[in-house]
Amino acid sequence: MASSNGSNAAIVGTGQTEFSKSSGRSELQLACEAIKAALDDAGLTPADVDGMSTFTIDNNEDVDLVRSLGVENLRFSSRVGHGGGGSVGPLAHAMAAVDSGLADVVVCWRAMNERSEYRFGASKMSAVGGAPGAGTGFIEWSLPFGSASPAAWTAVQAQRYMHRYGVTNEDFGHVSVQLRKYASTNPNAWFYERPITLEDHQASRWIVEPIFRLLDCTQESDGGVAVVVTSLERARDLKQPPVRILHATQAVPFEFETVTNYYHEDLCSFDAGIACSRELYRRTGLGPRDIQVGMLYDHFTIAIYWHLEANGFCKQGEAADFVKDGHIAIDGTLPVSPNGGHIGEAYIHGMNNIAEAVRQVRGTAVNQVAAVENVLVSAGTSGAILSRAS
């Protein structure tokens, strides 16, 4: 059972495939490989698994994974909506399942060929009844106006922020440069050994003018990532030092909308991220100054601003300067996504950021931050604080 101060669930294994633009194998195989690697990392076998959780937009079914992996009896299975914003949701479900006794060993995964089989970031103009990330009626109110891609959906929110705070596209470039710098020293990153300059960013073509250039957009990746969750008690007998899920939560505030989140009063204020952060700090008793690393969901450069402000790492409207002044660098006050994030490492919809959070707490990351006690993972409609187990 959970103690009064945080959950007693822990991440005991992470696994991933290579990150590519063409995996050459099925999404089911990617999921199987990532989960098997995570179980190997933990010192567990598929027969130990009795719970599973993933995204509603993952194309793999639990029954196929059970049959492929050789899971003997699944007692718990769930899926979380809201696209990548919900990516920490499976971890919250796994935590709750373990804390309640609904399951003992839960795997969370995301695996896809979003680059080679379909184009996740492409125009959804032909979509009828939905698109990746859907699950609400947002397509109905966007497509007839030629707002048909994630970049277009996000740009009108970003423009309002730019207008309010006098931020320019060049400011966004500093986010991109930092994440690509991290990726350049991460051998698992797609952009390994390929840093960029601010000039490269400013020379990249417009995707949505005058808001996002190509180098403001995350990439599309083929790949899979999985993590294994069990109780702290069981974790003591396993291979890896456990990474405690101090708390994980979902957040869907009033008037929130998946992707086209246009209907709350002030679009400069990230309603879901704020709700998530409040809950995480309330439940753990921690605050922004207790966090050593932020794994922030970067589908576009500006999202880093939104997460920094929503989680209290800087004040509202100050994120552009916070980034420009070097605070998200490896020696800054809050290193952000030292794996390179989605923009630099791979876009496995937040799951690769969770895996990096685990490595940072274990102390095994390639771009390791010093003395990590707590990592905050912020995806939007979900988030978690992962901590060193005392």
């Binding site: 109905e140 109110w141 106006f145 030629g146 891609s149 009108v156 423009q159 309002r160 995707i207």
Partner: protein, 140 residues
């Protein structure tokens, strides 16, 4: 006009049972809003229950069509065959308080000002549909 008819027509809006009145209004050239019949609160996008008083009684009311510009963007890539290059998307705040996505027409990006007054008009889509558009409104 920035909404000159391209070779491929703009896709028709596909509404739900809850939003059919809105798109039907567009076909008649009228911007319709949804208001709670009990507490009077406006809401958009349409939904079956008032989130403030939980009433399912609702009114579908013709709106003024006046709005101000909340935000905008110019999608460049990928080009869409059913839209003229240079088309603008916009978030507008209606006089009655709701916010909605639309297109901003008859203005060049250089002349755009956040907060500028706008007025509604309508264009046809494929399948005999119609959608709302906004353009600058002269101060009256």
């Amino acid at each position: 006009m920035s909404d000159a008819t391209p070779a491929v027509q703009r896709p028709a809006p596909h509404g739900s049972r809850d939003s059919a009145f809105f798109w039907e209004g567009c076909r008649r050239g009228v911007l319709m809003g949804q208001r709670c019949a009990d507490c009077g609160a406006w809401r958009h996008p349409p939904r079956p229950m008032c989130p403030h008083c939980q009433s399912v009684e609702r009114e579908e009311v013709e709106l003024s069509g006046r709005a101000t510009l909340y935000s905008w963007a110019k999608p460049v890539h990928p080009p869409l065959p059913m839209f003229e290059p240079g088309y603008l998307i916009a978030l507008v705040d209606l006089e009655e308080g709701q916010r909605m996505l639309s297109n901003l027409c008859d203005v060049s990006p250089e002349a755009i000002e956040i907060g500028m007054p706008l007025e509604v008009f309508f264009v046809e889509t494929a399948e005999g549909g119609a959608v709302h558009q906004f353009r600058p409104r002269q101060a009256s």
